[in-house]
Symmetry: C2
Subunit: 438 residues, 2 copies
């Protein structure tokens, strides 16, 4: 049987890693796939030949990606350019030409996946995106196939390594956010413009994809709530640790009676949870299914070789299934098209969670009673309340509160009322809290 | 398209769970598979109708399993009887009749898998066994498909929940083995005859399967070294903890230049490792691939619903692929048949690992020098050596040693010489140690 021909778009970090792994492990991969897999045509604007081993195996390297997707000899296109344009046009052209597509482009899938999958379904080709979420961890496959028997209850994931590295540094070395970010940039774990990572946008792209696979809803990136880590105080990381919690930047997708919660934000989790101990640039995703219970998947969320591992796993899947009836392939969003659900994605005000709160209040009798009175009126139960020592000369003391679960709209209302008190100075710091117990 | 018909053998714990999940989540499962899936024929010697919901959905329940595998309307047979006979005869008959098979039977696959897969390949049907290893965790799928791009370097797994429950109780509550076992039995986590679990035979069945998938070698259960936990002293659990280690009953499969290590035994691991903190009946498998790096998979390793989750995931896979060309399905042992490797499985003497050692020696000058001298002559480096306080009136003191990595044959030799010293009383306790760092 003739080899399968790959058209590769992009020879950056992941593209280079893909060439390296495909050539280095060619014999293992062929033994598994049943056919040889070769890159016949690649396109890149710039690349460093010294840093990519196996480049000499590629028949033709040019600079025009459209030449690759229009090349009649290419069976599968791997899109590793990133961004929206021309990635979207290239992917749609590849599909139009009857080619399968493998991509690592979480932003493209999150925003344009619905259209891309519809085009692929109509044409009878596959678009695979394991590499778009959590690097080398086969999380898409686990969710879409391994847990196919379950009604998924919730997902909670550390799915951005940059943010996790920063939070680990803030805790381990008790550093403020800006210093930890600078270290991440120096080590190459954060871009010069780190906005997508630290503001949670990258995590929100990935969570959107996980949520659709879990709950069988169309991709709705614009409905995913995003709150970054740039406003986190080292102080809160410290107080949380004293109370027995770690702060992680979690992506949470949860099914409730009213609809689906889709939210990315800093979250306190009990330090005993395995996921609370996932540090540095590693990723981890917790999935709770109604039959299997809680399952955790952990590994490298980024990097040339780990991401290449996921890209090539998708290629092997496609190669193995190449003669299968398109109607019987694994559906893109796990659920057969036409079977997607219209369950609504909830606004952040409608979610239910617990909270860590910190505020500055006058160190006077009656103040705590005032604050507790507001919580009581809003129907919010307190799990703990602590008063910290004031700094020398301060008239105000830090008050820390842990609440039980309550709807965010009520918490917003309580916070507004507390901030309005004369005895309270400044804003109330609020960090959401999840037990992730079951 | 007509529904897919399942023939179910066994209505015990997992069989009952399978019926329950298949009926309860029928709509989600159908939405994912693209076809309805129904159990048309089941056979069991005895079952409790009160404890299994959805039983009324099964068209015919009898007591003859051969009637099920010979039933012309059945497409897929699910074997949940366990054991070797008649499970083996039933599976082979189902294959002969052109039916696909899904099983949870780790013992059967470990011992007879080579023949079973050959028969299935010749007939063009699939035998799937996700439920045979680590319960609901989709580990077989991860290894065989998700990590297909990697050269697997090693696997380390907590793959028997009974043993892990006992070790957790020994540490958390400082109990001796016999008490912890009794508690496990009282809670239903261990059988009346717990031999398969505590002596590591069950874990060895599962490790055999994982090793074959990872390294592309035929299943060779008889070459897997097994050492149980029944001889573990509460003392060693305690000393290990003082030194910063946990003791887990690990299954380890490792590729070396000389061949494949396949071994199940108590193992010290640094307490900071995520896997060291997997407690109770949960399972976890660490897999290191050369591209992806270390990945961890965690979840419920046993139980009616978690195991049913894995059984049904396999069924959905088969349903999705039902029209695929048999030559293009995912190969049973991950590697295409005819592409299996003849890399040898090493004897336990040939493995390399580090050790925790405990012995009793006379509390006299010169004794430590004697012992250290033997290690030096055998080329064994010591990482740590500690002398503990003797119990009142004892002439001998406990000595604890941590060594660096060395070949087991040399350690055996060193131990023989140390045990022969006049100053040493009794046997040397030896527990292997792994850093699982990379």
């Amino acid at each position: 049987m003739r080899p399968v021909n790959i058209g590769l778009l992009g020879l950056g970090t992941v593209g280079g890693g893909t060439v390296t792994v495909l050539t280095r492990n060619a014999s293992e991969i062929t033994r598994r796939a049943g056919r040889a897999i070769q890159i016949t045509h690649a396109a890149a604007q710039f690349y460093d030949p010294q840093r990519i081993s196996g480049l000499d195996q590629i028949k033709h390297i040019g600079s025009d990606p459209f030449a690759v997707v229009n090349d009649p000899d290419v069976d599968i296109v791997i899109e590793l350019i990133g961004g929206y344009s021309p990635a979207r046009e290239l992917v749609l052209a590849a599909i139009e030409n009857g080619k399968h597509v493998v991509t690592a482009n979480k932003a493209l899938i999150a925003r344009h996946g619905n259209d891309i999958f519809a085009a692929a379904q109509a044409k009878g080709v596959t678009v695979a995106f394991e590499a778009a979420v959590a690097g080398g961890i086969p999380i898409i496959k686990a969710l879409r196939e391994g847990l196919a028997a379950n009604r998924i209850e919730w997902i909670a994931g550390i799915i951005n390594g940059t943010g996790n590295f920063i939070l680990t540094a803030m805790r381990d070395q008790q550093r403020p956010f800006a210093e930890a970010l600078a270290e991440a940039q120096a080590l190459g774990y954060a871009e010069a413009d780190p906005t997508f990572d630290i503001e949670g946008i990258d995590a929100a792209h990935k969570l959107t994809i996980l949520g659709s696979l879990a709950f069988g809803i169309p991709l709705q990136f614009d409905k995913t709530f995003t709150e970054g880590i740039s406003k986190l105080h080292a102080q809160d990381v410290h107080f949380a640790a004293e109370l027995g919690y770690r702060i992680k930047h979690l992506g949470i997708a949860r099914r409730t009676a009213e609809g689906i919660e889709m939210r990315v934000h800093p979250t306190l989790i009990p330090h005993r949870r395995l996921i609370a101990n996932v540090d540095g640039v590693m990723n981890a995703v917790l999935i709770k299914g109604d039959a299997v219970g809680p399952t955790l998947y952990y590994g490298a969320g980024a990097g040339a070789l780990p991401t290449a591992s996921a890209v090539i796993a998708d290629v092997v899947d496609i190669v193995r299934a190449l003669t299968a009836n398109p109607h019987h392939r694994v559906p893109h969003l796990a659920f057969q098209p036409g079977e997607l659900s219209d369950t609504p994605v909830l606004n952040i005000d409608q979610i239910e969670t617990a909270y860590y709160l910190r505020l500055f209040a006058l160190d006077q009798p009656g103040v705590m009673a005032q604050i507790a009175g507001i919580f009581g009126e809003e129907g919010i139960s307190l799990e703990a309340i602590q008063q910290k020592e004031p700094a020398d000369g301060d008239t105000h003391v830090p008050l820390i509160m842990l609440t039980h679960r309550v709807r965010e709209a009520r918490m917003n209302q309580a916070i507004r009322r507390i901030e309005a008190l004369d005895a309270v100075s400044g804003a109330v710091v609020r960090i959401r809290m999840e037990t992730l117990a079951g």
